[in-house]
Symmetry: C2
Amino acid sequence: MKIVEPYTLPGFMELLPQKQVAFNQIKTVIESTYKKYGFLPLDTPVIEGSDILLAKAGGETEKQIYRFNKADSDLCLRFDLTVPLAKYVAKNQGVLTFPFKRYQIGKVYRGERAQRGRFREFYQCDVDVIGDETLNVMYECEIPAIINDIFSGLKLDFCICVNNRKILNGLFASLDISDKAETMRVIDKIDKIGVDGVKKELAETLNDKQIKRIIEFVSISGTNNNKIKALKKLDVDNEEFKLGIQELSKVVESSKAFGLEKNLVIELKIARGLDYYTGTVYETFIKGLESVGSVCSGGRYDNLAGYYTNKQFPGVGISIGLTRLFFVLDENNLLPKVESPIEVMVLPMDESAVNYCLFVAGQLRSQDIRTEVYLNDRKFKNKLNYANKLEAPYVLVVGEDEIKQGKVSFKDMFNHTQETLSVDEVITRLKK
Amino acid sequence: MKIVEPYTLPGFMELLPQKQVAFNQIKTVIESTYKKYGFLPLDTPVIEGSDILLAKAGGETEKQIYRFNKADSDLCLRFDLTVPLAKYVAKNQGVLTFPFKRYQIGKVYRGERAQRGRFREFYQCDVDVIGDETLNVMYECEIPAIINDIFSGLKLDFCICVNNRKILNGLFASLDISDKAETMRVIDKIDKIGVDGVKKELAETLNDKQIKRIIEFVSISGTNNNKIKALKKLDVDNEEFKLGIQELSKVVESSKAFGLEKNLVIELKIARGLDYYTGTVYETFIKGLESVGSVCSGGRYDNLAGYYTNKQFPGVGISIGLTRLFFVLDENNLLPKVESPIEVMVLPMDESAVNYCLFVAGQLRSQDIRTEVYLNDRKFKNKLNYANKLEAPYVLVVGEDEIKQGKVSFKDMFNHTQETLSVDEVITRLKK
């Protein structure tokens, strides 16, 4: 038979079992947190009609899309979970209950240039709260609590940065700055090129008064309360700006009621997608790994589904790029401690002990204890070696003596102890 | 803005939230059972190089494959989880621990003709045990226990049918029947066309002696033990046939040790994929829904990865087509009772109660209770209506009085009762 050399495509993550277990643990922390906040599960197709997925797209994203024909259909693989959500909400608006809180965890596809740490297939883990024409700002306040629970659950040291797009929009409007994107791009470089560098670059498009006000704005520093005070003191005569401060204050003030004592920082430079977000925006950084960028981002938007319906669906949401997050944590030895997928390995001394072992395993499994029986007929040394390789924390050994006594030899592989116990005693021990 | 009418592609399942919750519950039963038997998780890419995925394919399957080019790469969407497993095992054979027990639950793609109940994107839920050159028949014996736990867990009435391919192969070899596929196809029609019909059709390719023996074989009936006895009595002079009986006996005998008292039936007509399986084969039928075909099938094979390596990897595995299973159960009102994704809905009487509600919700969530706070500023009637629509089993109401007392009003929506409780009392109540 002709042999095809086995390979996995570049840009596609495929893990060995131990790493896959760690990956799944992180996914479980994210999913269980989303569920704890009352989000409902959603699972949309990976493939959609191109007219649906490209209703909005353009520019860089469109070039990266996996698009192809099957029979007469023009199809695309989804490149995020937001566009499918917009379609879903528009399509099912008559039967959904609003505010519609949904989470979705699934693979998305972008044909990026292949390079280390960049993935063409990757998991996004999204939550969004979608309102029917209106949505209270309190839903924006809730998001940092969700982020906090996830990254605390992953035992990471992190910082949640928030801003409000109304503040930026209002400021720019009050100064008659039309090219917001260019101005934001320059502001964002302040940590690299300093105040003087920013002034110089802004001078190419703005006048002195505009520059002075922008510099006052980006120079605001201190605690969250100091920043709010300083924003008010800027005395910008613009209603949107004022509303932005009010909303940002609310996010900061309510954080205590949400149990967030620290980790939340106002960062006035954050803008995110320029023509989509309209209120609070979020970015999350792992301390010491700020250079990899935000690992959990999102914000408030006023019109989720404008490409599919005339009805207004405002919302707020965040997304975690899980595949990249996993890659970064792995590179930096920050993966969670892996729980062994096998709690108990049962080893028959010889073939005559197999049936007894199966009976024991059945009792453990009925108590939801993850149990494997080694069933190949090998030397005992090989069986024990298998248990060691799979890092089973507990091993039960069964031979003639154990069967006679109706018991098992219980080996604690971590503490290197061995005792003779009944199955009930084993269960009690493990349930602790 | 030009509106694109929102739609989902035909053959792609996209569920409303309530149904999605039921779908996920079934998925969880399958996944947790796989884990309980010590299978390790695996997650391979949805896209593979065409040379990898088409190394084996051909015929019907190949026509259905989603195949396309991206840049210079010839790519396919996976059409099952077995080919990616074969690639994975061949690629990682040096670092995996054998027997390698893995489960994978993921979407696969087949461009079938669109019709009700047929899906182009569907979940497969697979387990396989892969041996390094050898694999004990006891692993074949373990499979029915896994199937039994899953379908018992789904509260379904079902039947696991087993056969052994060595019996069929040995019988055909002893009778010098070369066109096994055609003979099997005719045998399989016995329930429809009866013994005489089968005889007539077999006469087109076989002689009288061959037909007589085949009819003796397919006429075997009775209990599992009776069938084993009758098989032995056929006295077929073929070593493979005899080994097949031995293995089939072992599967039946060991089923008691695996806790399987019923549900397991020898069905000598089952063949499955003709050139792949070599030992025990499995099919599973839901009672009353036999006409939809097997909902969980698989078997023992001797050479998993022959297209990618010269090394022999025997294995045994099963697959559940979850999307179709869900569709069938839904059509027949056999879905599991849906647990509400939201356990507690917290409703502030007015805006002044919101912070207190957030604090209460935080305490419940810290105990892993799935809790939502309604945060829009609406009339209380609307808030209660929201809780009802989402079918939250418990609702906490907080107003001025509750805050003064440091308590909440606890409404049991199922029993229509209301009590004033402390948060600790609520937690104790819900943990029961």
